[in-house]
């Protein structure tokens, strides 16, 4: 009896320690973001005058006006949104169709084609930076959105194709057989019967693609220098150069850049988590 009591007491202690540990780690992950929101509303006097850690004494909303209007953040935000959406749209079509061909259709070079995508996963994208830069310069598409849309689509392909190929392969062949008896063409079979079944997976892949394009830095800053087409990540980099000594507007820009993704994440947290896990497990 006393032994049981002891272990129960021990349990309570363990529970307390784990709870403290979880809260501590959560604070460590969240506080920097809270702090970011704090200083995005602070004036220089407050930041450099001693109120570093706490919330602002006076909430200076002017920082946001500064960043959005003076710092072009709206423009960058808009560019990031539509570039990411275009990438998602194009890559989803390509991923859906090619995964179907790789998993369900019958042709000779299917295996080698599959391996092209598999091997593409191990190859780091750094190697494409300079060759694509020179190629795009020759094609005169450097400094246009196309220069980043093309690589982003390419980067999205291997993971997406592998995930979707697995998903298609798991579907029973009877589905197609019965459609076949009903006199379906291959396009109808794909679009009406098979595609709807993989839509949830494709949505997860799309979410993953969206986040990667939204956050990409190396190609965006190399291929786009025209402020008209800059995306948010690059825009923020130049914003921090512009407002080097003023933390408020930089903070405001960062909050504006982060908020949309964060809101999407908090609404769709399950789906986002699944999407990213899938990229690792099945990719």
């Amino acid at each position: 009896m006393s032994e049981k009591l002891k272990s129960r007491k021990g349990n309570r202690l363990v529970r307390l320690i784990t709870a403290v540990f979880l809260l501590f780690w959560a604070a460590l992950q969240i506080y920097p973001l809270v702090w970011l929101v704090f200083f995005s509303f602070k004036s220089n006097e407050e930041i450099f005058g001693g109120n570093i850690i706490g919330p602002p004494m006076v909430w200076k909303t002017g920082n946001y006006a500064n960043a959005l209007l003076g710092g072009n953040v709206f423009r960058y935000l808009f560019n990031s949104v539509w570039v990411s959406l275009v990438v998602v749209a194009i890559s989803s079509v390509l991923i859906g169709t090619s995964a179907y061909a790789l998993s369900r259709m019958r042709w000779k070079l299917r295996k080698p084609a599959y391996w092209v995508f598999v091997s593409g996963m191990t190859i780091p994208l750094h190697a494409t930076l300079l060759p694509l830069f020179l190629l795009f310069r020759k094609m005169q598409i450097i400094n246009t959105p196309l220069a980043i849309v093309i690589p982003y689509v390419v980067f999205a392909l291997p993971t997406g194709v592998l995930i979707l190929t697995n998903t298609f392969s798991a579907l029973p062949i009877e589905l197609e057989e019965s459609a076949c008896i009903d006199g379906c063409s291959v396009y109808q079979m794909f679009w009406r019967i098979m595609f709807p079944l993989v839509r949830p997976t494709l949505a997860a892949v799309a979410l993953f693609t969206f986040l990667s394009s939204w956050n990409e830095l190396m190609f965006a800053m190399t291929f786009i220098s025209d402020p008209k087409w800059k995306t948010l990540t690059v825009g923020l980099q130049s914003l921090s150069g512009m407002y080097y000594t003023e933390w408020g507007p930089i903070g405001a820009g960062m909050v504006v850049a982060t908020a949309p993704v964060l809101v999407i994440y908090l609404i769709l947290s399950k789906q986002v988590q699944n999407a990213l896990v899938m990229g690792a497990v099945k990719g």
Partner: protein
């Protein structure tokens, strides 16, 4: 049936665009990078053929060697700090604590943010005069520990690694969490009847059963370290005096700041070769068959 699924026009229509786009760009890039890497070329006019000169120079270049060592160190450090921490969090979260969903969501937030935002934020955290780190140290009376974290050659490298680890713990936590959750409940219950709960259950049931995922994550963090770029670029851009350089930051600055197109391309070929070799070696080492990279 065979006829329909063997429809050549449809196959071409479905696969050709992505295969040509993807295969073409990857193939073109690697061939061209290799070609450039054999040139002494500043980007203007024609390059001069230099054989393997750039590679020889590379392996004699102290800065390059340091950058390669740094990325290996990053891999080792993340392996031994980030993964255990992620595993611990995942084990706790799957043991039925209150607020499981809340913590999972919170721990994963940094993963969804761009490295630029995180990098810029940590620049402010590390700021020697107005940063939160030195302020907290000051408030605790530990003024002797205050320093210019990213500017001091002794602390710069580790300080640059911390945000990378901080950002990715949640990701690996989630991977471990998902695979622990997928362990059949029967196994866990059966073990419980045999008296395996808490730590025993973790060490004898859960960890052995998710070993494949642990291996996958280990490969992940090591290969990821070879490719690290964004955070280093934003935080230090390789400085001070190249202390925090990694191969990709060196490749980038060689090409776009110093106009050494040939040398930079040699580094990019090195990164490709390193990633492929490392992936193959680690898979062999772990004897994982169809593991994911």
């Amino acid at each position: 049936m065979n006829k329909i699924l063997g429809n050549k026009t449809a196959i071409t229509l479905f696969i050709a665009p992505s295969l040509i786009l993807f295969g073409g760009i990857i193939f073109y890039s690697i061939v061209m990078s290799f070609r450039y890497s054999l040139l002494d070329w500043n980007g203007f006019g024609e390059g001069v053929f230099a054989g393997f000169g750039n590679y020889i120079k590379m392996f004699q270049d102290k800065v390059f060697l340091r950058s390669a060592a740094n990325s290996l160190l990053l891999g080792v450090i993340t392996l031994f700090t980030q993964l255990p921490l992620a595993l611990l969090l995942a084990l706790i979260l799957t043991s039925g604590v209150k607020g499981e969903g809340f913590f999972r969501t919170v721990f994963f937030i940094p993963m969804t943010l761009s490295s630029v935002v995180i990098g810029q934020l940590w620049l402010k955290i590390y700021n020697p005069n107005y940063g939160i780190l030195n302020s907290v140290l000051g408030a605790l009376g530990l003024t002797s520990l205050q320093r210019n974290w990213l500017g001091d050659v002794n602390t710069a490298l580790l300080s640059a690694f911390v945000p990378i680890i901080w950002q990715n713990v949640g990701y690996h936590m989630l991977l471990f969490y998902t695979s622990i959750k997928s362990i059949s409940q029967e196994v866990v219950e059966a073990a419980k009847l045999d008296g395996a709960t808490g730590l025993t259950s973790a060490f004898y049931i859960k960890i052995p059963l998710i070993k494949p995922m642990i291996r996958t994550c280990a490969i992940f963090v090591i290969i990821g370290s070879m490719k690290a770029f964004d955070m280093i670029y934003v935080l230090t851009n390789g400085g001070p005096v190249h202390m925090t350089e990694v191969p990709s930051s060196l490749m980038f600055s060689s090409i776009f700041n110093l106009n050494k197109y040939g040398y930079g391309s040699a580094i990019s070929i090195f990164i490709v070769a390193e990633c492929i070799l490392m992936a193959v070696a680690l898979q062999k080492l772990f004897r994982v068959k169809d593991s994911a990279i």
